[in-house]
Symmetry: C2
Subunit: 264 residues, 2 copies
């Protein structure tokens, strides 16, 4: 990684994290433009190998950017940040059920040692799409990106299994190829789409996302689906580890690394 | 991975594995041309997370192709093969010391459940170099590739740490750029070189490799260094897990996957 973020970019990420730490809850799509955002999944130590192996076997939905070992809360990719407070919204899971959604995970994280995984997020390549003049509908509408559980199984790993989750962006038909090419340059943040058009083939009802907000697909646009870092949350629901903490979908951990660091 | 191996390639890999299973011991560079070869590192279950995390943090020397969980010995990437017998030579490690080198690891593997990691090998891109007319000196001489422990530390993970190990190929000065470009197309099998020329800067004495055979660098050639999948063996020596089984350097696990499957 040779690319370096600008001072202004660092400041925008730090300011956003500070606002989330102080209680602001909002989706992060478009925030700190040009810096990488990450999904969070934190599991008990005796589930950490299964989680890392699940990610290794499912690199498209689960590209691991960093593993923060139990006892530490400060990512190398965001020095000075605190994983327990600097994400706008968290989900606490007990036995595979969503137990609560909180703006501060300090109390939940104190229950037991957790290994935290930061996983690449498609918001990273949205900057590239926007820079190429491709509209990002959910940003235009001030909504969260729609995400769907699909009928495709991930490769299981130990006790973890579950369906692939995808995010969807409606893309004008004459820009689909560009969207594929641009996102394909970022294999560490989900890369090229897994599916273009034909939502029914993925078992998806477009109007009813499982996470995020409903989409608005206009005439001349094609729904394009990217592997999504919420996939580990589907694995939690399916596999029922005793405890886990994740980000709330669309509410990501902002890192200090520029998107360009992950361009292939 | 969409590339598919030919029937002749499959047959050559299967025949070679059968010969190793029956006791033949020989380096595998150049064997089953066009198919992927892999390093092996198998560790006790309670070291598996550290090993997988070490690989995740050091992807250049330790690109994980497959993890075979305890109790299984058949890689998905080589159906019908047996990890305990189908590698030409194994090393058995006790408390970080090389205890023995064997042609059959069945007895050693029976001592306790082990998780096996198959890690990409630079022999994979040698086919690409040879196809481009770049000479592979150790193949010409019928020797094992020279490998060196360097003065560069890997990123530690849990209880595992150690130096980066590199393999070296002498490349004609006018083909170094081609060698960089060709190997750079294979990030899952170490990718582009980590160092070109100036072995002393890596703390290396060219004539005295730590693994494999001494090289022959001719006038007009530059020593080129690639990250090497023997790096986990250096980590074993430095970190002293109670038990491990690896391949013997240069004596790899032949898989049924074509090199092209790992071209970026």
């Amino acid at each position: 990684m040779t690319a370096v973020a600008s001072a202004a970019q660092h400041a925008s990420a730090r300011e956003a994290r500070a606002s989330y730490r102080s209680g602001v809850v909002a989706p992060t799509s478009g925030v700190a433009h040009g810096l990488v955002q990450a999904n969070l999944i934190a599991v008990p130590e005796d589930w950490a190998f299964d989680m890392l192996l699940f990610a290794q076997r499912n690199p498209k939905p689960c590209p691991v950017l960093e593993v923060v070992e139990a006892g530490s809360f400060e990512p190398r990719l965001a020095p000075g940040a605190d994983l327990r407070t600097d994400i706008p919204a968290y989900r606490v899971w007990r036995d595979g059920e969503l137990a609560e959604e909180v703006a501060d995970a300090t109390a939940a994280w104190a229950e037991q040692p957790l290994v935290a995984f930061l996983i690449g997020c498609s918001f990273t390549f949205e900057a590239g799409l926007a820079d190429a003049g491709i509209p990002i509908r959910h940003q235009e509408l001030g909504r969260n990106v729609p995400m769907y559980r699909t009928n495709r199984d991930c490769a299981p790993a130990g006790r973890l299994s579950g369906e692939l989750v995808v995010s969807m962006r409606p893309i004008p038909a004459d820009r689909v190829a560009d969207a594929v090419t641009i996102s394909g340059r970022f294999p560490a943040v989900h890369g090229a789409p897994v599916h273009v058009g034909e939502p029914a083939a993925l078992g998806i009802d477009l109007d009813h996302p499982d996470f995020g907000d409903a989409p608005e697909v206009r005439d001349g646009e094609v729904p394009v689906f990217w592997a999504c870092g919420v996939t580990p949350q589907a694995a939690i629901m399916a596999s029922r580890p005793p405890f886990a903490i994740t980000h709330a979908p669309g509410h990501m951990m902002l890192l200090d690394v520029p998107d360009a660091a992950y361009a292939a």
